[in-house]
């Protein structure tokens, strides 16, 4: 069954405020797709457009190849898991799960079979006749999933469903959600501001900012080859260094970064000499050097955080105010790495990404 979702030049305006800029996007059948962005970036608006709670100002939504214009929310083949779950507190667990089937006029015996199957799927068969208020947070979470799956949606929409859970449960539910998605083959559209969730579960992620899709790619590409300065800083940790272009050699560009000296990296943008540009280098790609050479700078250590397998360092390059983050493996000889010490750090030019400053947001 085709359960792809196509956002065909969708645009959403509230009065004068553009909540979602024109977006053209195809989500494949059976894909685990995430929208990742800070709050207010328009991702929830997109979810409401797909589910039919709001009509886009422009453009159309196609689900399974069908035009969803004038198809009301209650007739769409989508099912939503709300941020606060929105389970019905006056109904039992079974009644909650069976509600969507009751609406469709499915007979009682049939409904019972479905709810039993789903309660087994989410591993809560004994909760059938419990009240919602008697469930724990994680149980509620699973019942919400079961309720959404009961109507056999083509597309499951998840609006930050894990944000109310504690860390341990959240990590556990990630695996569980991914597992359910694999078992059911339903298209999952997941909304989150938590990049950990988006990167670990998704087949593809759309990074959004200010109503605009910044990049749509698989998690690995997002991390390794961010397309915009926003994605470079938002996905994973990154050090951002500003400079001016002083040399160009093919895709390799050298910037004059003021107090940090000259630093080189590679770029996909077409840059000219004198342009302002941004250099991004990930904390784990910065390494210690014994002597100054190209792409190196001396920095004073401000803060040390031991995180088990590695050591997170915050350091300020000499004469500069900028704070850089450096991640070192903790099995290295780290005797001289102490707060206040001066250390030389460097990176390989092919590890650093340079983007045009004009594309900064």
């Amino acid at each position: 069954m085709d359960s792809s979702v196509h956002l065909d030049h969708v645009m959403m305006k509230f009065d004068d405020f553009v909540a979602v800029q024109q977006t053209d996007l195809k989500i494949e059948s059976g894909e685990f797709f995430s929208f990742l962005g800070p709050s207010g970036c328009g991702k929830t608006t997109l979810l409401n457009i797909i589910s039919g709670f709001i009509e886009p100002t422009e453009g159309t939504v196609h689900i399974g190849g069908q035009d969803m214009r004038r198809v009301p929310a209650n007739k769409r083949p989508t099912s939503m898991i709300f941020q606060n779950l929105a389970l019905f507190p006056l109904m039992t667990v079974a009644e909650n799960i069976e509600f969507g089937l009751e609406v469709r006029g499915v007979r009682k015996a049939e409904r019972r079979k479905v709810s039993e199957r789903l309660l087994n799927l989410v591993a809560l068969p004994e909760c059938r006749d419990k009240r919602i208020s008697d469930l724990s947070g994680g149980q509620k979470q699973r019942i919400a999933i079961a309720r959404a799956l009961a109507v056999e949606p083509r597309v499951l929409l998840l609006d930050e469903p894990l944000s109310a859970l504690d860390l341990k449960l959240r990590q556990h539910m990630r695996t569980e959600l991914k597992d359910i998605q694999r078992k059911t083959g339903i298209t999952f559209i997941y909304i989150t501001h938590d990049q950990g969730e988006a990167l670990t579960m998704s087949d593809r992620v759309a990074v959004m900012s200010a109503g605009k899709l910044q990049q749509v790619a698989d998690p690995m590409t997002l991390y390794r080859a961010p397309a915009t300065p926003f994605v470079a800083s938002f996905v994973g940790e990154n050090n951002r260094i500003e400079g001016k272009v002083v040399a160009i050699d093919g895709t390799q560009v050298t910037l004059d970064c003021g107090d940090l000296g000259r630093l080189s990296g590679h770029t996909q943008d077409s840059l000219n000499l004198g342009d302002s540009a941004l250099l991004f280098i990930r904390p784990e790609l910065l390494t210690r050097r014994t002597s100054m050479s190209d792409n190196c700078f001396m920095a004073q250590i401000r803060e040390l955080n031991f995180e088990g397998a590695y050591l997170m360092i915050e350091a300020t390059p000499l004469k500069s105010q900028q704070r850089l983050r450096i991640q070192l493996l903790s099995d290295l000889n780290l005797d001289d790495v102490a707060t206040g010490n001066l250390i030389i750090f460097g990176f390989a030019a092919e590890d650093a990404m340079i983007m045009s400053g004009a594309r900064d947001v």
Partner: protein, 295 residues
């Protein structure tokens, strides 16, 4: 409670507060009621015989209703019409309350509430009289319906209970709107969205999600409107016809035209007790507990 109060305000202020509460409750509520119960249980005697050998407690006044078929029919009509008033008010107010609570923007809601409240700045007699004019045989409503061609000749709106019911629905709208509004407003809007999302149409969403949630508010509104209608005097007196007397009018007549306070008090208590009984019955029927209402 006394301990808490005296810790905060000292013993003297607390004693004062309790004394005032006690005075209010006893002097203004309990004593007058006891006096009326006492009245209702004594025969109506000329002043010279009060306290005499004939002044014995009796249930005779209560028995009067049992032996008077006309009064009985008026009594049941009063209850039935009050139910009708309550039902009509609920029907009218529910969509409005839902709109105010879940659809309207804050500005629209504020405007709407203001428009609802303004008519209540005018006193009840004036408002009821204006309905008298609107509904009268040669009044504006008939003129409008005639000119639009809906009717061939004027309708006597005021000859049956119609005028009384219209007048009461209008008079008690606010007592229904606000409890309903409060109840619906407290419902998480995501519940409505979730029901929609699971395929529920509007009717089912109201019937399965919103109304069950708003049940305590509905009960509160219905009880208030029912009690006010059953005990209303001004509206039936002004908008009613001789054929649509209200039980309160009979009570009034006993007191002020028959001069029989004892009989009037007995009738008033019968009305009160049976209304309470009716409400308890309805609460059982719709599975509403007192705790739900106090929520």
């Amino acid at each position: 409670m006394f301990k808490q109060l005296s810790e905060r305000f000292g013993p003297w202020v607390s004693i004062g507060i309790f004394l005032l509460m006690f005075l209010w409750l006893v002097m203004l509520v309990i004593l007058p009621q006891i006096l009326m119960i006492d009245y209702s249980l004594r025969p109506n005697l000329p002043p010279s015989q009060i306290g005499g050998p004939d002044d014995q407690y009796t249930l005779k006044n209560y028995a009067t209703l049992a032996n008077n078929a006309i009064h009985q029919s008026i009594f049941f009509k009063t209850i039935w019409s009050s139910v009708l008033v309550t039902f009509c008010t609920l029907l009218l107010c529910y969509p409005l309350a839902y709109y105010l609570a879940k659809v309207a923007t804050p500005r629209q809601a504020a405007l709407c509430v203001l428009l609802l409240i303004i008519p209540f700045w005018i006193n009840e007699i004036l408002r009821t009289f204006s309905w008298f004019i609107i509904l009268s045989y040669r009044g504006p409503l008939n003129a409008l319906l005639l000119s639009l061609g809906f009717i061939d000749r004027p309708i006597r709106f005021l000859s049956g209970d119609g005028g009384v019911i219209v007048g009461m629905v209008y008079a008690y709208i606010l007592f229904m709107i606000f409890p309903l509004y409060n109840a619906i407003e407290s419902l998480d809007s995501n519940q409505i969205k979730a029901a929609r999302n699971l395929g529920s149409g509007w009717i089912r969403t109201h019937y399965r999600i919103i109304i069950p949630h708003a049940k305590p508010g509905i009960a509160t509104g219905c009880i208030m409107v029912f009690m006010l209608s059953a005990g209303s005097y001004a509206v039936p007196a002004l908008l009613g016809s001789p054929g649509s007397r209200w039980f309160t009018q009979i009570i009034y007549n006993w007191f002020f035209e028959g001069g029989d306070w004892n009989q009037g008090a007995a009738y008033a208590f019968i009305l009160l007790l049976l209304c309470i009984g009716f409400i308890v019955l309805m609460m059982r029927l719709f599975k509403v507990g007192l705790g739900d209402i106090a929520r």
